[in-house]
């Protein structure tokens, strides 16, 4: 009676609620999810026209019915975690809620269907959106000129440093190196290297800020710029930023600001006023356009007058009759950095966000983001180590020092947070904090939601003390348990190998509609 039916275990593990094959693996020959309409032009003989090049099969294509395709993708979509399901306290990423009004405006027919080949006379509305957005961003940053072209933050950095290089070249010497603090985003040194500069590391002081004495020692006639994130990646405002700018400017070097954390400054203080020469903005972070797989991103670059001649082409301009135009006649420009004019759909959403909030709304957004981070800090600093006591801005960085004594690391606690229904915070970044736990609640979360997160994290701290194994083996209630990240990185499986069979090129003969 060894094969007596006893039912499935409590948690079905091999059925579709837990597993989903690749769409290719679900395929079986002859299934279709489409039917072409009757041919209403004379048929041609493909073989006669194409000779040897004619296909006899379709290669390997998935063959499924319509409902199978619908279910496949719908099931996959339910396995995502999303801001519409819960909080993303992912430090450095600014996973704020993106208001539905943005989407409503972006879907207006005249905007959604606008084509880049439309004549300028029919594109005035589109150009005006770009103009009003540019003016708003310049107002917010205190800078003089802007390009909306870059398609992401790192692309913005690249564009900004190209401007720096073009500026120094116009003075006869591109210079050799770019200074980058050890707390920087990894994209900063990558940008500097791609633009042809040597990277020089700048150590942070005990408060996590730029060490002015060290900076003074390192800046010389070979320094092209300092790339600085403000507030820094530990969520601290560089209070001596104007002195940093003065030290650089005294040697002819420029100050680049990575604007990734601009959501802590909007409406309160302007980079243009504290000495920044060039910076990028992340519309997909600060200005509530989608990101994290939803994108695309958008990384406008704003600069001071001295860099304006080098901006990518085309730039927006106003003609004598008051209409807007795109100016390509820019002899000193670094050239185009992207096809067309940038990710225009994001410009609409960012502008919708700016106009819906207005100046006071944007200011309150900043204040709420900072208040939320400090609330978390105050409610958690007795259970987690706080490596930098300097006042926090929009995010707070703890470390796993207290829990690591029991073998519980930041990554373990991040995974345990999934069991409580939250996305993990950012682990192991910034690199200057060993075992970093970087938490950014954004302004979107209510007091009630923050209290839930606080409760979860305090529980986890207690578990780490009393039952460390529970945390070290988390997550326990997710669809998949802990994955083997090391093997995945050392022996990645990057390609699905098709079976030998290929899809025949058969005519559609089924009578049934789907």
């Amino acid at each position: 009676m060894g094969d007596k039916f006893v039912g499935t275990p409590k948690k079905a593990s091999v059925h579709v609620n837990q597993n989903e094959d690749l769409i290719f693996e679900k395929s079986s020959p002859g299934k279709k999810a489409y039917r072409l309409s009757e041919l209403d032009v004379p048929a041609v003989d493909a073989a006669a026209l194409l000779g040897d090049a004619v296909r006899t099969d379709l290669g390997v294509m998935p063959e499924l019915s319509e409902i199978e395709i619908v279910r496949h993708f719908t099931r996959l979509s339910t396995w995502n975690y999303a801001i519409d399901l819960g909080m993303f306290p992912l430090g450095s990423c600014t996973m704020k809620y993106n208001g539905r009004v943005n989407e409503l405006v972006a879907r207006l027919e005249g905007l959604a269907e606008a084509h880049p080949y439309q004549p300028e006379s029919l594109s005035q509305g589109v150009l005006e959106i770009m103009q009003v957005l540019s003016d708003s961003l310049l107002d917010i940053t205190g800078m003089d000129s802007i390009t909306l072209q870059p398609a992401a933050g790192a692309h913005g950095e690249f564009t900004g440093i190209l401007l720096v290089r073009a500026y120094h070249e116009s003075k006869g010497n591109p210079r050799k190196k770019i200074l980058i603090p050890d707390s920087a985003h990894g994209t900063n040194p990558a940008t500097a290297a791609v633009v042809g500069y040597q990277v020089q590391n700048l150590k942070s002081n005990a408060e996590g800020m730029v060490d002015l004495a060290e900076l003074e020692k390192l800046v010389d006639e070979d320094t092209a710029a300092l790339m600085l994130t403000n507030p820094s990646t530990i969520g601290v405002f560089e209070s001596e930023i104007h002195k940093i700018a003065d030290i650089l400017h005294a040697k002819g070097a420029l100050l680049y600001m990575d604007g990734a954390n601009m959501n802590a400054l909007v409406g309160k203080v302007r980079p243009g006023d504290f000495g920044v020469d060039v910076m990028h903005l992340n519309l997909h972070k600060t200005f509530s356009t989608p990101h994290g797989g939803g994108g695309p991103g958008s990384g406008p670059v704003a600069c001071k007058k001295i860099l304006e001649p080098f901006l990518p082409t085309p730039v927006l301009a106003t003609k004598n009759d008051g209409t807007l135009t795109l100016d390509y006649n820019r002899p000193q420009s670094v050239g185009r950095v992207r096809a067309w004019y940038g990710n225009f759909g994001m410009f609409i959403r960012a502008l919708a966000y700016i106009l819906a909030n207005g100046p006071d709304g944007l200011r309150q957004t900043t204040e709420d983001a900072v208040l939320n981070a400090n609330y978390l800090r105050a409610k958690l600093e007795d259970v987690f180590d706080l490596p930098f006591k300097t006042a926090s801005m929009h995010e707070v960085v703890f470390s796993d020092k207290l829990q690591a004594k029991n073998g519980v690391k930041t990554g373990d606690m991040g995974k345990r947070l999934l069991d409580y229904g939250f996305h993990a915070y950012t682990v192991s970044f910034p690199l200057i904090v060993a075992g970093a736990m970087m938490i950014e609640p954004t302004e979107s979360e209510s007091r009630e939601e923050l209290d839930l997160l606080i409760d979860a994290l305090r529980q986890i701290a207690r578990e780490a003390e009393e039952n460390p194994e529970l945390v070290k083996t988390a997550p326990h209630t997710t669809r998949l348990r802990r994955l083997d990240e090391t093997t995945a990185a050392r022996k990645p499986i990057l390609r699905w190998k098709a079976p030998a069979a290929s899809t025949p090129l058969t005519p559609d003969t089924a009578a049934k509609e789907w």
Partner: protein, 125 residues
Amino acid sequence: MAYPTEYRYTKEHEWIAADGRIGITDYAQSTLGDIVFVELPAVGAELNAGQSFGTVESVKAVSDLYSPVNGKVLEVNEALNSAPESVNADANGTWMIKAEFDASQLENLLTAEAYEKFVSEETGH
């Protein structure tokens, strides 16, 4: 923790042996976590003290490898391409490159004792 006394060390957590072998310390490998990739220079490449000669990638982060000395790359440990985990298993015994260099430079580097003191100051325990 074991730091062989016949090696010299840097504050960037590399060790160098008198025969020119260069690797990373046991403290470095344990801080980095599981190492998944090591990128090394070509044989013959120039080494500058304090400058990056390659990178090491773990599940957590990508970090630069800094040369302890001025010199030239004599040999590269190709075995690390397929077995980067040997750095985790035996950091002291797993060299990354062999350098040709002027041995007088060793005097400027940390002894095992001084390095151990530096690490304990840096980590606070």
